[in-house]
């Protein structure tokens, strides 16, 4: 299964980024093969508005079924729902590898509503 992990830097050994929409990097990981590919999110990081929406679009294009992150705002949540992408929640910063391991063990709760306020709007 393909998952996206929001990351503060370029490898799974780095701490995850707790923000979804304005995450620095998205790491696309394959839970079976362990293969990981990093994608820069700089465009959305600096978006004036709609960062979460565009990030959801990016994650959908990457073909991920689940995104592992710390917080998702209302519009990003709506967009991820529309794309059929599940959200696995990490409650505190940890390395991407640990988040991925916990996800595979079924240890991460699935988010069923936005857990962050929208920014500005």
């Amino acid at each position: 299964m393909k998952v996206v992990i929001t990351s503060s830097a370029q490898t799974l050994a780095d701490p995850i980024d707790m923000h979804f929409g304005r995450a620095k990097f998205f790491i696309l990981a394959d839970t079976e093969t362990g293969k990981a590919v990093v994608h820069d999110n700089v465009q959305n990081l600096h978006a004036v508005q709609g960062a979460g929406i565009q990030s959801a679009e990016t994650v959908a294009k990457l073909g991920a079924e689940t995104v592992i992150t710390g917080s998702v705002g209302p519009k990003a949540y709506r967009a991820l729902q529309a794309a059929g992408i599940k959200i696995a929640l990490v409650e505190a910063v940890c390395p991407g590898t640990e988040a991925l391991r916990r996800f595979k063990e079924g240890d991460l709760p699935v988010l069923d509503k936005p857990n962050s306020e929208g920014h500005w709007v």
Binding site: A47, V48, Q49, G50, I53, E57, A79, A82, V121
Partner: protein
Amino acid sequence: MKPFPVIAIASGKGGTGKTTVAVHLAAWLAAQGRAVQYLDCDVEEPNGHLFLKPVIDTTETASIPVPIVNAEACIACGKCARVCEFNAIAMLKKPLVFPELCHGCGACVLVCPAGAIREEPRAIGVVESGHAGSIAFAQGRLNVGEPMSPPLIRKVKARRMSEAIALLDAPPGTSCPVVATVRGADFVVLVTEPTPFGLHDLSLAVDTLRPMDLPLGVIVNRADEDRRVQAFCRDQNLPLLAELPDDRRVAETYARGELLFERLPEWRGFFDTLWKQIEARL
């Protein structure tokens, strides 16, 4: 010189006295028998009405057109999402519209090859108009929680009458709402105060407005011994239109929502001078 110029009263920093200047200039011009219109473009918190106490006779809902996608006609090409500068459409399995982010530009409708997008008005606020004595009055009131003020500001400005001096009371800051207000004005008055914050935000406002090629002038409100704003104006070749004195009685009168002229008749003189300064530059 235009007989009926449009004068915008702006500032970088909030609370420097834009509204004080705008309403008193309106009242002073009206007292001289000039046809004048006051347009409150500070649509997030219009407060000129507190002083002018207008009679409102028309309230009109202001809307922007937002897209509605016909899912059956949509071919999921994603062009609408790509053209949207404001991320108001996401291309997921089908386009997903976020109306609260839409600026109503209509680009999505234009690029849709399937004709699957129509527009529907979304109310963002109201424009209220009326008069305060001989002053024609209009103000925008943005709905609470609504982020998109420029379309409403443009609707307030559309109330401009051709045969009156128009005074535009601008919102504070240096972003889109300010640009929407001052665009097309014949002169911009920047009201500031002699504090580091006043000076800093004045310099931001000047940086914002200079590329728009608008004639600018500065008023120092609550002027005191700090002369840094005046020095900045000299360096920047910005005309200093007036210095309004720091006077507790002004604050007291303001706090009661009254105009200054009755209690402090000497303030007529400041506005007489101010208007001459502006008029000489039109």
